[in-house]
């Protein structure tokens, strides 16, 4: 194991920012710490780096307990969200800083700096100062600086947060390639689920200081461990159902009652792509009005309004939309292919957890 957290808790006063979290990061893994803002992800990262001390629990790096090891001696590379480049030093000196304080000899430092400049595509910029660089260049300098003394792990705090959307896309691909080349264990914090799904080998999902699920992007998407994960990763239609006459119902929609008694409640969720639509009104059981069509690129999102007023989001390809001859205001039939029970009423139904606002991505949102 490259990094291991065992039952780590961090309190700031009364508030537990991180609560009993255990994570194992394998050697060479590219792992995302994902969760809504204020969920404790950055605190976890800072505890691994040694910038925060856990209130309780143990942290191991490559099998050694590092709770009492100072930041300087943990041999980690840390990239701050703001990059925190040394403003008074040029690119080469920024990268060389860690090597200088570790008393490398001059020739080795020069060689290593040249190597990193090449690796990160920063040749020709070595004499520039941070304020003379673009956002993407700054980030690469920050990563080069963190990698300089060959750390055992690389920690990145919201690495794509400070650059605009277009560059973000490139940087993601670039990070994946860099990780592939270097194979250094990398842990990064993000609040963007799309970013986590796209970049990482495995994802750790946090909310409110609690670990919700650890798994590959596919696992957390297809087998979410709980309602929070199901709703946080990817888009989801959520319906609250009430059992009556042996079935769980919401409006005209009917689902199995899962053995619940009359009047008891149930919450289910289904992905927009699980909704199948046909312009042939006889094809599927339910009918609805196609209210709006949202263009997302290759995919379209459509909003269906049922006679009872329920609204359902569905997703389809452009081709299928055209093939079916769909248009806003048309009446369609539909069915729900897959759904997931999110919560059953044992006592009262647990309240829906609030999700942070997620701005819709440009292309292929939450497919």
């Amino acid at each position: 194991m490259s990094i291991e957290l065992r039952n780590v808790t961090k309190r700031f006063g009364e508030v537990a920012a991180v609560n009993g979290v255990s994570i194992s990061v394998r050697e060479g893994e590219l792992m995302a710490l994902l969760g809504p803002s204020g969920g404790g992800k950055t605190t976890v990262l800072r505890m691994i780096a040694g910038l925060e001390m856990p209130t309780s629990g143990d942290i191991f790096i490559r099998g050694n307990r590092v709770n009492d090891v100072s930041v300087q001696r943990r041999n980690i590379g840390f990239v701050f969200q703001s990059y925190a480049l040394f403003k008074n030093m040029n690119v080469a000196n920024n990268i060389a800083f860690g090597l200088k304080v570790k008393k490398w000899n001059r020739a080795d430092i020069r060689e290593r700096v040249a190597e990193l400049l090449g690796l990160l595509g920063l040749e020709g910029l070595e004499r520039r100062y941070p304020h003379q660089l673009s956002g993407g260049q700054r980030q690469r300098v920050a990563i080069a600086r963190a990698l300089a003394s060959k750390p055992s792990v690389l920690l990145l705090d919201e690495p794509f947060g400070a650059v605009d959307a277009k560059i973000r896309e490139e940087l993601r691909e670039w990070l994946v390639r860099l990780h592939h080349d270097l194979n250094v264990t990398t842990l990064f914090v993000t609040h963007d689920q799309e970013e986590a799904l796209e970049v990482s080998n495995r994802i750790v999902i946090f909310s409110r200081g609690i670990l919700e699920q650890v798994g590959t992007p596919r696992e957390v998407y297809e087998q979410p461990a709980n309602e929070f994960v199901a709703r946080f990763i990817g888009a989801m239609n959520v319906l609250e159902l009430e059992v009556s006459d042996g079935a769980a119902r919401a409006g005209e929609l009917e689902f199995p009652s899962y053995g619940l008694a009359q009047g008891q409640k149930l919450r289910i969720g289904f992905r927009p792509y699980a909704v199948q639509i046909s312009s042939d009104l006889t094809q599927y059981r339910y009918h609805a009005l196609l209210r709006h069509t949202f263009f997302l690129g290759v995919l379209l999102r459509v909003e269906l309004e049922l006679p009872s007023g329920l609204t359902i989001r569905a997703r389809m390809t452009k081709e299928e939309y055209a093939h079916q001859g769909l248009a806003d205001g048309k009446e369609v039939s539909f069915q729900i292919r897959q759904y997931r029970v999110l919560a059953k009423e044992s006592a009262p139904l647990p309240p829906e957890r609030e999700l942070p606002y997620q701005p819709p991505a440009a292309i292929g949102e939450n497919i």
């Binding site: 040694g50 930041v71 703001s82 040394f86 800083f97």
Partner: protein
């Protein structure tokens, strides 16, 4: 061709009419000339009233020489100490959260709000023969009041805020991420301070040092109370000027005064030079 087109149209819609603009500029320049520049020039004129030879003679007298030496000594002790205190205080305020923070900020400003004479008197009450610690100091043969240590203490008190006041906003603006980055790269606390913290506040620090030095050299009130005015021993330049003037040796007084003015002008020149360099640096940054 009317006047406006001759000078070119106004660049800004909000610009005042030319008459008001020139009146204001003339008033500001006139005021500076009459109240600042003229008296200053007069100091030099008065210093040479009895000829340049008299002026240099007044400066080379042993008592004057000793006053110059003492002034430089006091500044030489005060400024480094206040740099250390100022850095420590600014660091504590900018980087840490603690309960007495606002109290500390207020305390740093205390020397600004207190009359220098009162500051001097406070030292007398504390260290003077009749003062709190007087008998103990007497018993151990230590002299503070009417001696050089008293002058140094008074000057430190009066000039304390300059460095800290300049540094606090700069340090607060810089934040602590660069320092944390240095730590993660393996730098010790000292290396971090030397290579990261200090360079990022260097302009503020230098500016604080200049102001602190100017005040340390020129301080009169607090020093006057604790000095005892022993010619050749506890007279600083400012005190020497007053003494010579009271002895009706105006040209000699102005000779020493002109030296103080020169020091002040030199300080201002350094300050302007630094501001110019800093502005140039910022321009390069854009």
């Amino acid at each position: 061709m009317n006047r406006d087109s001759a000078r070119g149209p106004s660049q800004r819609g909000t610009e005042e009419p030319p008459l008001i603009k020139w009146l204001l500029i003339a008033a500001a320049l006139g005021f500076c000339f009459v109240f600042l520049l003229l008296p200053l020039a007069n100091v030099f004129v008065q210093a040479c009233a009895k000829g340049l030879a008299y002026c240099t003679e007044a400066l080379t007298k042993p008592d004057s020489q000793s006053a110059i030496g003492l002034t430089l000594l006091v500044a030489g002790i005060t400024v480094p100490l206040n740099v250390v205190f100022g850095l420590a205080a600014a660091w504590a305020i900018a980087k840490f959260e603690f309960p007495a923070k606002s109290l500390l900020i207020t305390l740093i400003d205390l020397p600004f709000s207190i009359s220098p004479v009162v500051a001097g008197l406070m030292l007398v009450v504390l260290f003077g023969l009749q003062g709190l610690l007087g008998p103990w100091l007497e018993a151990h043969d230590l002299k503070i009041i009417f001696a050089v240590p008293g002058i140094v203490l008074a000057t430190i008190f009066v000039t304390f805020p300059f460095v800290a006041r300049e540094l606090i906003p700069v340090m607060q603006a810089t934040g602590s991420e660069q320092e944390q980055a240095a730590l993660t790269l393996g730098a010790t606390g000292w290396q971090t301070f030397w290579h990261v913290t200090l360079p990022s506040v260097k302009w503020g620090l230098l500016y604080g040092i200049i102001l602190c030095n100017a005040r340390a050299v020129g301080e009169f009130g607090a020093v006057s109370v604790v000095s005892g005015h022993i010619a050749g021993k506890t007279d600083t330049m400012s005190l020497r000027v007053e003494k010579l003037y009271n002895e009706y040796d105006a040209p000699a007084a102005f000779a020493v005064a002109s030296l103080l003015v020169l020091l002040a002008l030199l300080t201002l020149a350094v300050k302007v030079l630094m501001e110019w360099r800093q502005a140039r640096g910022e321009k390069a940054a854009r």
